[in-house]
């Protein structure tokens, strides 16, 4: 039994944590959000050059650090603590995961660009009608000579405004909800017929609606075809990374609540001295700790060969973490009282991020059903 990190992993965490604490204070982050853009100017370049974390999940052959889900977990947990705005999840975790598992010829060139910070892919997978069923696709890709022609609309593409490419799921054959016929493409953002509409999200980072109207994509940009198993594997790995981010958010909300209730006095004593509130904070602590345990469990199991084992572990962890985000988040605001409602208190920003993380890649309902189905040997 070993839950310890290697020396390299500990160094990675220290490097990221120390850079974020020097460069990602609450005020600096808030100023970046208010300025528009949804990212902190210069941060991405720092991730590429100063920190070298964009290749954490790529093999050494491809110029990366040779890591994988554990390295992503470490980075994302630190990002969660700092509420870092940039789309590390799409550009490094998702792209890294596709490159690791797809066996695609374009991998080396894309990896080089990502590691250098010059290529920044965003993951365009969501469609309004599909909810969290990744093979429910209206976006189509029709073969046309040496190219594919894409048509459709992808919603809420995180990191879209500053992306250079989109990693797009599209249907090459079959009906809207068939598992067969799901392909993955790398699409240059400058492609003709591709329109984006950018906007901020309620928690700060930006996203885009991406519309494809007869967008021609070279066949060499087909990352994989008939690839729903691959897509689900990648999203499972991305989900684990987002759970790690959630753990960072949970830790901060719990710490801030403890600090606040120890200093805030009512009826002549600190709020923290009231037993009813102590018990609440203990329950928050337990929820956070269980979330961390499940995130570690999923990080270990998501690398297993058996797809059902992987999926079950991720769904179980997702359910637990989503519940923790609700309980810890809502109570963190409640125990901060009116102050917790204001945009000037950091806790409200953690609560907003945590709330959106609850439903990212599917909320409790999707994952509990998936877990149940896998438990009785049914298709997820």
């Amino acid at each position: 039994m070993d839950f310890n990190f290697t020396e390299e992993q500990t160094m990675l965490r220290d490097t990221v944590a120390s850079w974020l604490s020097d460069n990602y204070g609450f005020e600096a982050r808030w100023a970046a959000i208010k300025a528009g853009g949804g990212e902190k100017p210069g941060a991405w370049q720092a991730y590429a050059e100063e920190l070298g974390i964009l290749g954490a999940g790529f093999s050494e052959d491809l110029g990366g650090l040779g890591g994988g889900v554990t390295e992503h977990m470490i980075v994302m947990e630190e990002f969660g603590k700092a509420l870092a705005l940039e789309d590390y999840l799409g550009a490094a975790v998702v792209a890294g995961s596709f490159i690791r598992h797809a066996g695609w010829n374009g991998a080396a060139a894309l990896a080089e660009g990502i590691i250098a910070g010059t290529a920044k892919p965003a993951f365009a997978y969501a469609e309004a009608q599909a909810r969290y069923t990744w093979h429910d696709l209206k976006t189509t890709a029709r073969k046309d000579g040496d190219a594919y022609v894409l048509n459709g609309h992808k919603g809420v593409v995180m990191g879209g405004p500053t992306a250079t490419h989109f990693i797009v799921t599209a249907r090459t054959s079959g009906g809207q909800r068939d598992r067969a016929g799901v392909a993955v493409f790398l699409v240059d953002k400058e492609s003709k017929g591709l329109v984006t509409r950018d906007y901020p999200n309620i928690d700060g980072p930006s996203a885009s609606e991406v519309f494809f109207e007869n967008v021609s994509v070279p066949a060499s940009n087909l990352i994989a075809d008939n690839a729903i198993d691959l897509v689900e594997r990648v999203i499972d790995e991305a989900t684990v990374a987002s759970l790690a981010e959630a753990c960072g958010v949970l830790q901060k909300m719990h710490e801030q609540t403890l600090d606040y209730t120890k200093t805030r006095k009512q009826f002549g004593q600190p709020l923290a001295s009231f037993q009813a509130l102590q018990h609440r904070m203990v329950d928050m602590y337990i929820a956070w700790q269980q979330a961390v345990s499940m995130t570690y469990m999923a990080t270990i199991k998501v690398t297993e060969d058996d797809a059902a084992t992987r999926a079950k572990a991720v769904s179980a962890a997702k359910v637990q973490v989503a519940r923790a985000l609700k309980f810890v988040g809502e109570n963190a605001i409640q125990l901060h009282g009116g102050m917790g409602m204001t945009e000037e208190m950091p806790v409200s920003h953690y609560f907003k991020r945590g709330t959106l993380l609850r439903n990212l890649f599917g909320g409790e309902d999707k994952h509990i059903v998936r877990y149940e189905n896998l438990s009785i040997g049914k298709d997820a």
Binding site: A126, A128, Q129, A130, R131, Y132, T133, D136, G155, V156, R177, V195, R197, Y199, P200, N201, I202, D203, A207, E209, F211, K265, Q266, F267, G268, A276, L277, E330, I333, Q334, G337, G338, G340, M341, T342, E343, E344, S348, H349, F351, K352, T355, L356, N359, G362, G363, D365, K366, I368, V369
Partner: protein, 398 residues
Amino acid sequence: MNLEFTPEENAFRDEVRDFLETRYPKEVAERQAAGLELRKEDYFAWQKVLLEKGWVTPNWPKEWGGTEWTPTQKYIWSEETAKVDALQLPAFGVSMVAPVLWTFGTQAQKDRFLTATRNGDIWWCQGYSEPGSGSDLASLKTRAVREGDFYIVNGQKTWTTLAQYADWGFFLVRTDPDAKKQEGISFLLIDMKSPGVTVRPIITMDGAHEVNEVFLDNVKVPVDQRVYEENKGWTVAKFLLSHERSGIAGIARSKRGVDRLRKIARAEFSDSGEKLIEDPQFRRKLADLEIDITALEYTELRSLASESAGKGPGPEASMLKIKGTEIQQRVTELVLEAVGHYGSPYFRGFGEAGNAYPIGPDYAHQAAPRYFNVRKTSIYGGSNEIQRNIIAKMVLGL
């Protein structure tokens, strides 16, 4: 035990429906439907229509323009107005300070303020909470020192809802710093245009400007603007708080919220490709929520019945506040869940709307801000923790 409506009550319901259908201001309805922030003039437009009909202050005594509705009629009114999403006039004037004035005020105070409040000529705000005095309201420090015919008031209030629009405020101030904390407080009416009053916005996490800080710097307040006796302000405050709590359950609004939620669930798809309303997990949550609302509704009806039998709103109102706010919060949580991916975009940040490239369905635009905003309901009006203390002490005798 009788839950049937009489023919007269049904006729009244028809009259209310007809009135709302024909007279509710169209422009206000459009702003609400578009999810736009409501302005002072929107409230005034509605208040004017109500005034013409004579229905602006149903709870007031007849001599000041009350309707003398029975509790059942009031219940019908609140149901029907909620169904069409009619604006609720800010409670501070017609529902909060007015009962204080007709109960504790001098004749001169009643003459000066009641009709003007009813007509919408005065917009009120409430100066209760202070940075150091939230749940422990009686520890408030804003100081009023008597100088001849005036009080000189210094201090800071916070969470003052819509103070940016207010003409007058009712304030709790400390007039005797040496007395026991509840016994040195007075209730003052302060003209918000007085020199020395400064209002500063507080922006909440949903991005809204709803609450404010109010700074009072040597504000001169005539003594005839004190309601009830000096140092007896806590009696007034407790009376007012019990009125604030009784309307706080918001049951009719929550029912309306469930209707809206059901409509969204009919439009959205579930993971299995059917409509979300067909999804067993989601349906169960909807049913749970409605059962909770029904339990609260009948709890409120029992409380109304005992009120109409002559007992005022008692500490049981705390139960309505706790459950009512939890339900309001749950409704918004399920809306946010129902809209899926489109709970994330921030509508205020969209800029010019482009119909060619829309961002999610209209009903999703306010889902997250509402969920964030109603976290306040379990904090304000005496936090739900304080309400539990009240029940423990006053109802259970612990």
